[in-house]
Subunit: 128 residues, 2 copies
DNA sequence: GTTAGTGTCATAATACACTATGACACTAAT
DNA sequence: ATTAGTGTCATAGTGTATTATGACACTAAC
């Protein structure tokens, strides 16, 4: 894992795990790496991983079976969609809008962004 | 100023100052608040403001006259446009694209975003 | 029951951002 | 020259994320 200097490690671990769940690489009910195992893998302290897992348990996206390990909770995906969407609209998007305005970025600059949005539009049409 | 928990204060001070310059609230050549004055205003230590000013001086957006104070450098705006645009495309945008993809956000969800982009499109047309 | 694998808790050490404060050099105004 | 306002540097203290380690309770497998 590549850690950014500017964000706490235990939060970056959560972000990474959340992404694994939302992209379907981790499925509801799956056992996730043990605290010690993940800590060794990404070369971080046990306590740091523990803090991350405890946070996700509090958020209801992980469940803990004593003596066995942590598992992705059954409703993790819908719970996460709610949490992440809310955070996106209240925390992430506003400063981005402001940046785009200040930097005067137009359709040409942001064609990759527009492409992703319209790709999602089509996906939703297909699902109907 | 409202400080976020998750980002260093001296960086947030820079962000705020950068925004003042890019939005034209601070003009090239303007004297900015003294280290002590700003520190008192936003209730932060002198050294923290100093660190922020020193960073911006290094970036070439502030200039220092000994015994007098800090001033917005004459080419601050174009320098900043380069720095901030580059950072936006390399650091900010990629994770946003990924989030939009994962959260399946479409044109309806992001109509405010599209509005800002198209507003900039029109601005550019008018300038020709 | 022994062993190996889980999570959990407690303690101490390190690193760094931020604070608090004092002292000094420079500049402008009187 | 004195004063007040600048930036600058040094020192020490605080809070917190992270590390390093050890010890303990629980579970599964043998």
């Amino acid at each position: 894992m590549n850690f950014s200097e500017h964000k706490n490690i235990f939060l970056q671990i959560r972000d990474w795990m959340v992404d694994q769940i939302l992209t379907g690489k981790l499925l509801p009910g799956d056992k996730i790496p043990s605290v010690r195992e993940l800590a060794a893998d990404i070369e971080v302290n046990r306590n740091t991983v523990m803090r991350s897992y405890a946070l996700m348990e509090e958020e209801g996206i992980l469940e803990n079976k004593r003596g066995i390990g942590f598992f992705v909770s059954l409703d993790a995906k819908s719970t996460l969609l709610n949490i992440q969407r809310k955070e996106f609209f209240t925390e992430t998007l506003p400063p981005i809008l402001h940046q785009i305005q200040v930097l005067r970025l137009d359709s040409t600059d942001l064609k990759s962004l527009l492409a992703v949005i319209h790709f999602n539009d089509n996906k939703h049409e297909e699902e109907q």
